[in-house]
Symmetry: C6
Subunit: 274 residues, 6 copies
């Protein structure tokens, strides 16, 4: 099995790879078949870029609600490509950078990538990279322009590049007129159904089957809803926080219910349709 094999991948070329590995240190849980098809499409893009008779550049956007696992999946694909150059660009590593410094950093990574015959560049959280704030709205026009030009700049002859971007605000990218510059888009979903939530809980072994059933029931009671719609990251956090309470099952259900209530803040969950 291809994906099983991938689980054994080990660091090949130092820091960048280690950092990328950290992004899915919690592992990739297969709580729904969508996980496989996401990894499958990503693998095809890698193969297209590797093919010397094809385009020299593909740019793919992974989008989905907060904490749905976008960074983990992009990191996994990057490492699985086994391309000689892989690199993660993250806004969290640029605190205190001014615009020229950010753009310089972005530009440098793309120039470095162009020295390698095959490269994967992961640009994480584009909405944070451009300092997006919905009031106004405001954002860094200069970083956005730089990104737009870097995304569409064909690598020099003999160089081939895959760019993987992530965002939890696809509609923001639409407003910024950025979507048209991607050659492909992949939607990453929440833990959406009770069954998927149960699958996560079972795989994490924090609750036994009876407790899982109990938790699902309390969630149903608190929210009046049979759906879930919470990111995998938040589910994993809820498990850990609940452990410290005197009543972990109830506390877990409560935290999930709170997360579901806040969900209305994240309206960016629309799957790509045609």
């Amino acid at each position: 099995d291809f994906f099983a094999a991938l689980d054994e991948t080990k660091p090949l070329f130092g820091v960048a790879e280690e950092e990328l590995g950290e992004c899915y240190s919690g592992g990739i849980l297969h709580f729904s078949p969508t996980m496989d098809s996401i990894l499958n499409i990503g693998r095809q893009d890698i193969a297209t870029v590797r093919n010397p008779n094809s385009m020299r550049l593909l740019t793919t956007l992974l989008h989905g609600p907060p904490g749905s696992g976008k960074t983990a999946l992009a990191a996994r694909l990057a490492i699985d490509s086994e391309f000689p150059f892989i690199k993660l660009i993250s806004p969290q590593d640029m605190v205190g950078f001014n615009e020229p410094q950010k753009i310089g950093q972005l530009d440098k990574v793309f120039r470095d990538a162009d020295k390698s015959p095959l490269s994967v560049v992961v640009v994480d959280n584009i909405e944070l990279l451009v300092d997006w704030v919905p009031i106004g709205p405001r954002f860094s026009n200069n970083v956005l322009s730089a990104l737009r030009n870097l995304l569409t700049k064909t690598p020099p002859k003999g160089r081939r590049r895959l760019v993987l971007c992530t965002t939890s605000k696809r509609s923001v990218l639409e407003q910024l007129d950025l979507l048209q510059y991607f050659t492909g888009q992949i939607a990453v979903p929440n833990v959406n159904s009770r069954d998927e939530l149960a699958a996560v809980l079972r795989q994490k072994r924090s609750f036994d089957d009876r407790e899982i059933a109990g938790a699902l029931e309390i969630i149903q009671d608190l929210t009046g809803s049979g759906d879930v719609g919470v990111g995998i990251k938040r589910v994993l956090t809820a498990i850990e926080r609940a452990k410290e309470a005197s009543n972990p099952v109830e506390r877990f259900a409560e935290i999930i219910a709170e997360a579901m209530a806040e969900r209305r803040l994240y309206e960016d969950v629309r799957p790509a349709a045609y």
Copy 2:
């Protein structure tokens, strides 16, 4: 009793702690059972962060009306954690700082925290830190971006961090799209009922029971309302100001009534619902 025991906590490591202690030098009055449950949830977050098998980062927001005691409670939780690194970040200590200086200061505290295996960082009055003004609205986009990135940046391996933030403008943080980056939220209420107000007055021993009854009655007369809805800080100030008047009971009632009239300015009191 846990909280009684906490009352004896003494400074462990100098300045930061002393400063935090100053934040509740007026003490924590238990005028309603909500106080206990707030401290209880905070304690669980501390335990989760301390657990080496859990997430390396939790971020909790204390929100509530002006003067409701948010800073006092956050300071108390920070000191009670007994973590080796505790630090208060306050906009009042940054008068005259330009944006890069503020961001540098924020960044430094988080870097220092990352040198310690366990840390609590208190970020006080986020709305002031980002220089929020409702007209426009205006705010510091750069400080906001820095904060957003610092709040979500996982500490390095072997480091674990709790971030406690306070705000009297939760709706502002919602507009700034900042709420989604907190792993938990705690609402801190006003002195809301006549009984709670009486409890405060009794514990402060400034008026005898008859005077307290008289004050409540005058407030009812002046405002036509049986509720109170004034922050504990303002109640304590009213007691002191009234002492200088020739008619302290009437003056106290008058000041509370004025505060209630101004309350419409602070519409940020909604308890977290689900």
Copy 3:
């Protein structure tokens, strides 16, 4: 009599005091009982700050229409406090200062105040200090932020401070979300009734009783109104300007009538209600 005694207060510690004294060199006329109650409430705040068992910080706002005497009253209270540190901060003394210079100046005064066990800081014309212009509206966000932080910063242990601010644009401060940071507010009224205007004229001895009656009648004729609603400063100016005319009584009435017509420009006269 308390206020009569105050009239003899003399400069104690140099420049700041002399400057403050200049602010009411025209004297404080007792044309209405409100004057006494304003001075009385101010005196209580001074006493609260002086009390070592009370809050270390009070901040009081004097607001009222242009020329109603806010600066004169604040200056008078500051001098009457006999606190060892008193200081007037006035935007008129900062022409040509850029934002950092203004903030530096503000910060310095508050730091100097913190060296004294007891201090009064008068911050005059806040709307001018923040460069408020109604078009836009525009204002200095940085000065506003600095002010907000300075107003709420508790003095260090053993230091106690009273801040007296003035503004003729209370509604502006409300829009700027600044009102909530004051522990108290005092409304300063215009010369509002015919009787109050007559009292001013009598005390200034520029017109005899018959002339006063004549002037009031002409004003009534010109404006069709029995009210006055003009600031004491403007009334005093009208008296002086009228002296140079061939027909002083008519000219005085005319100038007052013009002032009444312009009044619609100053809609900030609402007394504090509850």
Copy 4:
């Protein structure tokens, strides 16, 4: 006769005065009785400032449509005052100045004035000084603030100052909230009636009586209106331009008619009412 006498005033102290004299080198034509009453009110303000027992500061605004003679009248009053310090501040002399340079220049003139026991400062075309543009609208906030503070800053003891400002955009000053800082306002009118226009033409001796009648008739025909409403400056220009045409009377009428058509652009002609 007072005003006749004034016609002989000669330069007393060099450049500033010469420059001011240039402003009415075309003379002051008495085409309507309003001219006398404007000069009369101005004279009273001068007398009030000169009186050592009165206010140390008066600020008067001359407002009226473009080319109505505001600068000429202010210059005339300044020179007539015979105060030892008189100075004209004009935006036309500050082309290419940045904001700090403009403010520095303004500040310097007021400081220089404060060295003299009696001073008149003329600030010409305030709307240009603050770089007003109706789109946006835009203007220099910093120059406006500086001006506001300079206008209201009382001169030091023993110094007395009259400030004369001009503007063709009174409504702009109203929007900028600047009107309230003037102690007096004077409206300067256009050449408004056919009789006033005829008076100007007769005094300039360019046309004989029959030609004047002819011109008035053509204007009536072209515009269908019996009013005029054109600034004295434009009328004088029309006379000169018409001289070069083959048919001066018709050409004069045509230019006036064009000016009347453009008038709708200048809606700032409202006389001060009460």
Copy 5:
């Protein structure tokens, strides 16, 4: 004949004049009587400025649709004046200039002009000079202010100046409140009728009479309109482009028809009315 005589004018003082001459190197075609009356009014303004008993400053605006010949006509008038100082200020010569550099350049030209007893300054394409963009709208406030002050600044004694400005966006200048500062305005029209278009074609001798009739008919067919309304510059370009096609008459008609379709973009054609 006056205008015929002008055709022989030769360069008198070097570069500036040569550059101005370039502006009508295509010649001035007399395709309509309006051309004569435009040159006639311009000539009167020149005479007024030359007259030492008249105003020292006139400012005239030539406005009309794009390519209607404004620059050519202004250049022609400037050279015809035979004034010792003539100069063209063109935004195209200021690419890459920042605001202070542009203003410095403008200021310098006007200062140089003031060294000459008689000067003509042509300021071309004011809307480009102030960097006007309709979105926002945006423009350079500082350049606009400088221009406004330079346009209205009277030359020193003994110096006389004519300023000729051009714009294809008269309505923009109206919005910018700039129109009121001109002492005169001249409208420059398109090639508006079929007869005028035929006159141009005949004078250029590119088509014979039959071809001209054919072209007019095709235009009528393509557009359904008997009017033309295209700038002379564009008509001349159409003639040249058509020459390269296999079917010049049809191609000429097609290009004119395209130009007519785009015309709706240029709504600035309103003749000055009264």
Copy 6:
């Protein structure tokens, strides 16, 4: 055949030409007769500029949806001109440039061009060059102004220039008021019909006729539409990506269908009408 002959054109003067050649390294497929007429009109403009008796400057805009082949066609025309100076200006080569650097670069290319008797300058993706973002909207005013001036600046005597610009946002240029400065406009269409799509597939030889028919049918099924409307660039990419899938025909159809769904984002496809 003219265009067949062009296919053999080889680099003449180094880098610029090589870079331009890269722009259509995928070749120019003749999938519709529009391709010929586009190249034909471009050729006429080249001939007009070459003619020494014609205008010294033509500026042509190629506009059309993203990936429709604008850059490829402009590059082809530039190389076919065989003018001694040809140059491509591309925003992708200016990442990290500030405004003055961009303008300096633009200015330099135009100055260099002016050293050559005949030049073609290609300005690619004007909307990116001016950093256009639809939110706000925002764009670089300074770059836009520079571009506007460079586009309209006549080359010096003896120099002749053709400027070819491309944009996928013609409506943006309309809003920016830039369209009026072009002497001609050419619309570049998508692969619009099923027949055109089939022609592309046949010429690329990736699918046999049966597969092509199958793909068209699936597209019809997925989208319910008989049209296509996808840029040639995207079609070529779809072919390459599909090759890596297990079911290339279905995958090709799927990718085209996705592209058609996204098309609503690109509303700039209106052909130039009259």
